[in-house]
Symmetry: C2
Subunit: 176 residues, 2 copies
């Protein structure tokens, strides 16, 4: 990584890791933790797959089944804390985001580019998380109507490098 | 891992990974993501170090500086979602917990066992997260009064194995 006292370079390193997460299935940035507030006001967190990282717009993209608990959470509190821990670099990336959920015709072009193998994630019956009597008691029928694109506008990015000494830097959208 | 159709064995595997996270600095379970709800009702997430995993009590333990944002969050919403992604096993462990924060004389015995190198984390001035004029503009003076022990009682554990096929299992405290 760059000289961590150079804030601009530190910020650039973090974006390079995010972009690598999109391109490389083995990168630690491939699977961020996505934290939301449930309709009951409780914290929730789960693994997601990083689908896009757009530095120019300061946003990242995640896909979801429209019936997942995170969609219900985002309807009430449209914010997600996105967290990546990169063990190799001992770097923590924290993104405080505002999330816009899109579905239906507006995401048809993206749906058409989802590989068949990944599409099965959007057709499970019953809904993922439902109790079933035994393992395997569900079917798949991929449907566009179950596909949601979550655009996460980054309001704040915090980087914490757990080297010696620790380095912490915070970047706010309003300050660019 | 065990036969994932055997729920008891699946549950045992997850606890074995948690226990390994306490003992082994290189285990992915060493650094869970700890998600809370901020006093403003926003999701927050950060890396923590897993300090204990007690299967018999269904609880885990994390340490914190009393001045950290997560302590303010837990005062208002005493719940944390704890999340571990184990890339090697393709296993996601999600713990929904109720958190009890203890400090002062009641945690003196644990403080006495914190190695000197780790104690420096509890004495930074100004408080971690404060804006400083330049990197390194802070000092350390470890203090027991800054040391908090967070006991996280697991109310629900969800395991998701992203193998082929996916396996998901949920365990509730009230159902043992």
């Amino acid at each position: 990584m760059s000289d961590l006292n150079d804030l601009k370079a530190f910020h650039g390193d973090a974006w390079a890791l995010l972009e690598r997460g999109v391109a490389d299935r083995r990168s630690p940035a491939r699977h961020p933790t996505f934290a939301t507030v449930s309709p009951q006001g409780r914290p929730e967190a789960r693994t997601v797959v990083l689908r896009a990282a757009r530095r120019a717009d300061a946003e990242i993209e995640v896909h979801s089944d429209t019936r997942a608990a995170k969609i219900a959470a985002l309807e009430q509190t449209p914010h997600a804390a996105i967290h990546i821990w990169h063990p190799g670099h001992r770097l923590q990336i924290r993104l405080m985001t505002r999330v816009h959920v899109a579905g239906g015709a507006s995401v048809k072009a993206k749906w058409d580019r989802v590989p068949d193998g990944s599409r099965t994630a959007y057709g499970a019956e019953p809904t993922p998380g439902t109790r079933i009597a035994e393992a395997g008691a569900y079917t798949h029928a991929p449907k566009l109507e179950n596909f949601a694109v979550l655009t996460c506008a980054i309001e704040e990015m915090e980087l914490l490098h757990l080297g010696d000494p620790h380095r912490r830097a915070r970047f706010l959208r309003e300050e660019d």
